[in-house]
């Protein structure tokens, strides 16, 4: 407890008094934590609410499910309500069916007699619980399993190809002295200035001409050319001593072996950082897949979510659950690999 208090009251300098900057600091940090995590937590909590609960206002903080009871003479469990009867007493009843504004209800202990209750005179009996059907239904009935698979495929393939091609280029640019090296470097710097949104139309026509339209490879290949990846790896490979390469050449290693057996393993930390970046980038890509993929069965999760969320009658209970699913890999990266990314950004200013 004293540790917690010590943590909460830690302040600047050694003096006993609180400086106004200490107050600002803690207000900012605690407020920031709420604002940064709150929305995601609210999403997760909402994603476990059933459609009826989602339509309520004011919304509850936690998800509830209605209690069900097995009543003699009925095959399915019936939903329970607390009903106010005509004589003013309240009783827990199970609903058999609803007719207009009236509900036919029975007492679970005495299922023979039916009681008519106005739906305004009753409230559902609820307990904290999870509407897991939000997750199961879209994954089973809708195409979300397909979208999930497409996203995984695109992310994995793009990351593998990115690592391979970028590391090869970085190897050539860091370990060989050849004519035109500076020109190639300049070219790669130059492509930094060409974001996707600037070449949307002609890139579409190139992908069309190469027959990659409406194929996952049409999503993968254009994104593989990341100048940032080549940079990151080249900077790292420059620190690998050339003597290692010379020694290998003495032993008649081929250049490909030098790249594959010596440089690549030594560049593993930089490759890991690029892999993490690439996974997050490709998983989150939206605009390009949106343009290339027009057949539903090829949608990635991001495009599929946007399509379902853009329908006239948005089925929020499914959308929210699938948004959580879409968030999972990124949250895992955040929990376990966040340190790599933050140091990567702080060191190089890439994203």
């Amino acid at each position: 407890m004293s540790k917690v208090m010590g943590f909460l009251t830690a302040r600047r300098g050694h003096g006993g008094r609180w400086h106004w900057t200490d107050v600002v600091t803690w207000v900012w940090l605690i407020g920031g934590t709420i604002i940064m995590f709150g929305p995601a937590l609210w999403l997760i909590s909402s994603s476990f609410k059933g459609p009826a609960q989602l339509a309520e206002f004011p919304p509850t903080l936690l998800p509830y499910v209605q209690e069900l009871a097995v009543v003699d003479g009925y095959d399915d469990p019936l939903p329970l309500f607390t009903a106010t009867l005509e004589d003013g007493t309240t009783q827990v009843l199970a609903e058999v069916r609803r007719v207009g504004t009236n509900a036919q209800m029975v007492d679970p202990a005495n299922p023979e007699t039916r009681i008519d209750v106005n739906i305004a005179d009753r409230t559902p009996v609820r307990q904290i619980g999870l509407a897991t059907d939000n997750y199961v239904a879209p994954l089973v009935a809708n195409d979300f399993v397909r979208y999930l698979w497409n996203s995984v495929f695109v992310t994995m393939m793009a990351t593998i190809i990115t690592l391979l091609t970028n590391s090869m280029a970085a190897f050539a640019l860091s370990k060989y002295d050849f004519r035109g090296r500076n020109a190639v470097m300049l070219l790669i710097v130059g492509t930094l200035m060409v974001p996707l949104s600037v070449i949307l139309v002609p890139l579409y026509s190139v992908v069309n001409a190469t027959g990659l339209l409406n194929s996952l490879w049409g999503v993968i290949l254009p994104t593989v050319a990341t100048p940032t990846g080549v940079f990151l790896l080249r900077q790292y490979m420059l620190t690998i001593p050339d003597e290692l390469l010379e020694a290998a050449r003495m032993d008649h290693a081929s250049e490909w072996q030098i790249y594959w057996r010596i440089v690549l393993p030594l560049a593993a930390p930089a490759l890991a950082v690029l892999a993490i970046f690439s996974v997050v980038w490709r998983w989150n890509d939206f605009l390009w897949p949106l343009i290339v993929l027009s057949r539903r069965e090829l949608y990635t999760l991001q495009v599929g979510l946007n399509t379902y969320a853009g329908e006239l009658n948005v089925q929020w209970h499914y959308i929210l659950a699938m948004t959580v699913v879409t968030m999972i890999p990124v949250v895992l990266v955040f929990l376990f690999l966040q340190r790599f990314i933050t140091t990567g950004i702080a060191g190089s200013g890439i994203k």
């Binding site: 995590f37 999403l43 060989y176 890139l203 579409y204 081929s254 490909w256 933050t342």
Partner: protein, 336 residues
């Protein structure tokens, strides 16, 4: 446990190892034939091929598209129209009134993007500067709080858009807070002003962690003894900030400013999911205009979209050159 991980790693990697072995023989023959210089070409070929096909060729084609008309996507089917598309974008009868322009949507998008960039970049720099300053203090749990502010950066724009659409909807969390504070609930995203403010707030929320990290790295590069000297002289914190922190952080601030500008001009994904450009065209930004002109609208016009993207590209090139120049200066400053 380590043995298992190692085994798993080998199992995943073995197809690649096999492939690398198979490739080695033909490459050896090639190396003997061309020498080491030829190998550089081999290593560069895949990247250059991809860059060429998917960046350089489209870049050149963009100018060709902007000079042609019609709705066809194949360049051969498109008639040459010269600078007609640029004319259509830029022509107005009366430049003080947007609706007299031939492409008033384009001007709406330009105007919206301009206003968005001004407010969003200001807010972004201010918020991330304050956060970086606070995280740079000697506080407990600094790693945790740094992670807190970084968390939304990793989220996909679609997820960000949907999270906030859900919070800002009629029965959403924000209205719950409003009611509890005794204020009137609003349908936030149906209101032109609130929807625009939401795009600024949400995009700042999503990306501020990234800029905070850059500024934090800059702050940590400032020598500690400067602050110790200031403390000995009992300098008030506001003065320390103005005289030490701000001047020494200036290069990083400039980089953050320009980076935020570059990203701000291209804003699309999260706003598109959040508001879809609406209500009306009140949150229609440039990239969405290009996307709609080229792909989404019924009267699609790839030439017009290409011309608009070239105009946006020109702005971005200027900003990027500025950024490269500034970051080189920032690095030079650090070395000194």
């Amino acid at each position: 446990m380590a043995g298992l991980g190692d085994l798993l790693g080998r199992a995943v990697l073995w197809p690649f190892v096999l492939l690398a072995r198979l490739i080695d023989l033909p490459l050896r023959v090639w190396q003997r034939w061309t020498g080491i210089g030829g190998m550089a070409a081999v290593f560069l070929a895949p990247t250059l091929l991809i860059f060429g096909v998917f960046v350089l060729v489209p870049l050149g084609l963009n100018f060709a598209y902007a000079m042609t008309g019609g709705t066809g996507i194949l360049l051969g089917e498109r008639p040459f129209v010269g600078f007609e598309q640029y004319g259509r974008l830029l022509e107005c009868e009366d430049y003080t009134r947007r609706l007299t322009c031939r492409e008033d949507q384009f001007w709406t998008a330009v105007g919206n993007t301009g206003v968005f960039v001004i407010f969003q970049v200001t807010l972004m720099v201010a918020v991330s500067l304050i956060t970086a300053l606070i995280l740079n203090r000697n506080i407990r749990g600094r790693g945790f709080f740094r992670a807190v502010f970084f968390f939304p950066v990793l989220l996909s724009p679609v997820v960000v858009g949907l999270i906030w659409r859900w919070i800002l909807q009629r029965q959403g969390l924000l209205n719950l807070i409003m009611v509890n504070l005794g204020l009137d609930p609003q349908v936030w995203l149906n209101d032109r002003f609130y929807a625009f403010a939401a795009t600024i707030g949400v995009s700042t929320w999503a990306h501020m962690g990234f800029y905070t990290l850059i500024l934090l790295a800059g702050l940590q590069a400032i020598p500690r003894d400067l602050y110790e000297a200031a403390e000995m002289d009992a300098t008030p914190p506001t003065r320390v900030f103005r005289r030490i922190t701000l001047p020494l952080l200036a290069p990083n601030l400039a980089v953050v400013l320009v980076l935020a500008l570059i990203r701000g001009v291209q804003i699309f994904d999260e706003v598109y999911v959040l508001t879809g450009g609406g209500p009306g065209t009140s949150t229609l930004f440039l990239t969405q205009y290009i996307y709609e002109a080229g792909f989404a609208s019924i009267l699609r016009n790839p030439g017009l979209a290409a011309a608009a993207s070239i105009l946006m590209g020109a702005v971005l090139v200027v900003l990027t050159l500025l950024q490269l120049w500034l970051s080189r200066r920032a690095e030079g400053g650090r070395v000194r």
